[in-house]
C-alpha cells in the first residue's frame, strides 16, 4: 500500500477510535487511554521533520475539537513529535542514512518499551499540566499522568503487534 494512503488512513482511524471508543472507557471513573499518539510513534522517519510537526498539530487539534479541550492535545502531540527524532537518535545511535529502512518495531524490546514509555509520559504530562494548569494540583497531575500512561503504553504495544501481524 502507498505510504501516504496508509498514513492518512491511520490518521483518520486513530481519531475515530479515540473519540468513539477510548474516550468513553472511564476506567476507575476517569482513566481514558490516548492511543492516538501511536501515529507519532509509527510515522516514518524522515530528515524533514516539518511534515510530522504539522500533522501532529492537526491530529491533536482534531481530538481537541471533539473534546472541547482548547489546545491541550495539540500542544502535547506537537511536543512529542518534536522530541521523537532526538530520542530515537539517542536510543539507537543510528545516523540519518538508516532512516528509510528503519522500523520502530524492529528495535529490541527494552529499547522499544523505553521509547514508547518516554513518549507517552511526556505527552500525558504536558496534556494534564495544561489541562489543570495549577501548581496546587501537581499531585493530581502526576497521578493521572502515571495511571493513564500505563494503559496507553499497554494499548500501544498491543496495537503495534497487531499492525505488524497484518503484513
Amino acid at each position: 500500500m502507498n505510504e501516504i494512503v496508509k498514513n492518512s488512513l491511520l490518521f483518520i482511524v486513530l481519531i475515530l477510535v479515540q473519540v468513539i471508543i477510548l474516550n468513553n472507557i472511564n476506567f476507575l471513573g476517569y482513566i481514558n487511554p490516548f492511543l492516538y499518539i501511536l501515529f507519532v510513534i509509527v510515522f516514518p522517519l524522515k530528515k524533514d521533520r516539518g511534515l510530522l510537526l504539522v500533522l501532529s498539530f492537526l491530529l491533536g487539534l482534531s481530538i481537541d475539537f471533539f473534546l472541547d479541550s482548547g489546545g491541550v492535545n495539540a500542544a502535547a502531540t506537537v511536543c512529542i513529535a518534536y522530541i521523537r527524532l532526538p530520542l530515537i537518535k539517542a536510543l539507537t545511535r543510528k545516523s540519518e542514512i538508516d532512516f528509510p529502512v528503519f522500523k520502530i518495531i524492529k528495535l529490541p524490546f527494552l529499547k522499544l518499551l523505553s521509547f514508547i514509555a518516554i513518549i507517552t509520559l511526556t505527552h500525558h504530562l504536558v496534556l494534564f499540566s495544561l489541562e489543570y494548569f495549577k501548581f496546587a494540583e501537581i499531585l493530581t497531575i502526576l497521578s493521572r499522568t502515571i495511571l493513564t500512561s500505563i494503559f496507553t503504553i499497554i494499548l500501544i504495544i498491543f496495537s503495534l503487534l497487531l499492525l505488524n501481524k497484518n503484513k
Binding site: 471513573g29 476517569y30 475539537f65 473534546l67 472541547d68 482548547g70 489546545g71 491541550v72 518534536y82
Partner: protein, 274 residues
C-alpha cells in the same frame, strides 16, 4: 540580514515547533476562560454528526432508565397540579389584561448526544441548535435537576457548559429558607458539588434540599439540585459545603432547554446600574 536568514534556516524545525505550541497554548487559554468565543469547540457539523451517530446506538441501552425518569417527573408534576385548586379558590383572580401576564419561561426538549464528566472542564453536547432557537447562555435541566448552561451553538448542535466545570457558577438556595449561595465544582467527585458564599445564619443541616435560587436570569427558581452531604464550619463561616446531586451526571439522556423571556429586560436594567 544574512545572519537572520541563516539562523531561521538552521532552526526552522524549532521555530515551527514554537509556533505550533504557541497556537495550541492560545487555544488552551481561551478554553480556560468562561466568556470568550472559542475557536475550538465541538458544536460543528462534523463532530456533532459523529457524536449523533454514536449516540443513536447507545440510546437503546438506556431506554428503560429514561422511562423511569419520565414516570418520576410525571408523578412530581401531577402532585404539583393537585395542589393548585386549594390555592386558587382562596383568592379569586380575574385577569383583565392578558398582556400583563407574560409567560416567563418556555422549555425546549433535546437529547444529550455526548456526555463528559471526568475532566476538569466538562462540556456536553445536545442535538438542538440555532435551527431550534437555542442561543448561548440558556439553562439546561432534566427531570432530576440542573445540568448546565448552553455555550456555543451551530445550526443543529449546541455545546453545554456542564455544572461539572471549574468556570461554572450557579445561584442556588436552600429549599426551606431564603439563604443563597453559589454552586461550583472542585473537580473531584462528579456527583458531589460545592456551595460557596453561604451565610452562617443559614444554619444548614446534612440532608437539606438545595434548589436553584432564581437570582440569575438563566434558571427559574425551584429547580432541584441536590441534598447537603456534609460541611465544615471554621471561624464562624461555612467551609466546603458538599452537595450530593439528585442527578447521576454520568448517565444523562433527555434534557430541557430553558428560554427566559425576561432575560433581556433584566439585563438592560442591570446595565443601567453599572
Amino acid at each position: 540580514m544574512q545572519q537572520i536568514i541563516s539562523f531561521i534556516l538552521k532552526n526552522k524545525y524549532f521555530l515551527l515547533f514554537l509556533l505550533l505550541e504557541i497556537i495550541a497554548f492560545t487555544f488552551t487559554m481561551q478554553s480556560h476562560s468562561y466568556h470568550n468565543s472559542k475557536f475550538v469547540n465541538s458544536a460543528n457539523a462534523i463532530t456533532g454528526g459523529v457524536y449523533k451517530k454514536v449516540n443513536s446506538f447507545k440510546e437503546y441501552t438506556s431506554l428503560k432508565e429514561y422511562n423511569e425518569q419520565l414516570l418520576e417527573e410525571n408523578v412530581r408534576l401531577k402532585n404539583l397540579l393537585s395542589k393548585i385548586p386549594r390555592d386558587s379558590t382562596s383568592k379569586l383572580v380575574t385577569v383583565v389584561d392578558s398582556v400583563k401576564y407574560f409567560q416567563k419561561y418556555s422549555y425546549t426538549s433535546a437529547k444529550v448526544i455526548r456526555n463528559q464528566y471526568n475532566r476538569k472542564f466538562n462540556f456536553l453536547m445536545i442535538d438542538a441548535g440555532m435551527d431550534q432557537g437555542i442561543k448561548p447562555d440558556q439553562g439546561v435541566v432534566n427531570s432530576r435537576g440542573v445540568i448546565g448552561i448552553t455555550n456555543s451553538t451551530s445550526k443543529k448542535y449546541t455545546t453545554v457548559l456542564s455544572i461539572l466545570n471549574e468556570t461554572s457558577n450557579i445561584n442556588v438556595k436552600l429549599l426551606n429558607s431564603f439563604h443563597y449561595g453559589s454552586l461550583a465544582w472542585n473537580g473531584k467527585d462528579y456527583n458531589v458539588l460545592q456551595i460557596k458564599d453561604i451565610a452562617i445564619q443559614a444554619n444548614i443541616k446534612v440532608g437539606d434540599t438545595i434548589i436553584t435560587g432564581g437570582k440569575s436570569t438563566i434558571f427559574p427558581e425551584g429547580i432541584p439540585v441536590g441534598t447537603i452531604l456534609n460541611f465544615n464550619k471554621e471561624n464562624n463561616t461555612y467551609k466546603e459545603v458538599n452537595v450530593k446531586l439528585f442527578n447521576d451526571m454520568s448517565a444523562i439522556g433527555p434534557v430541557n432547554i430553558i428560554t427566559s423571556y425576561d432575560k433581556e429586560e433584566i439585563e438592560n436594567l442591570l446595565q443601567g446600574l453599572d
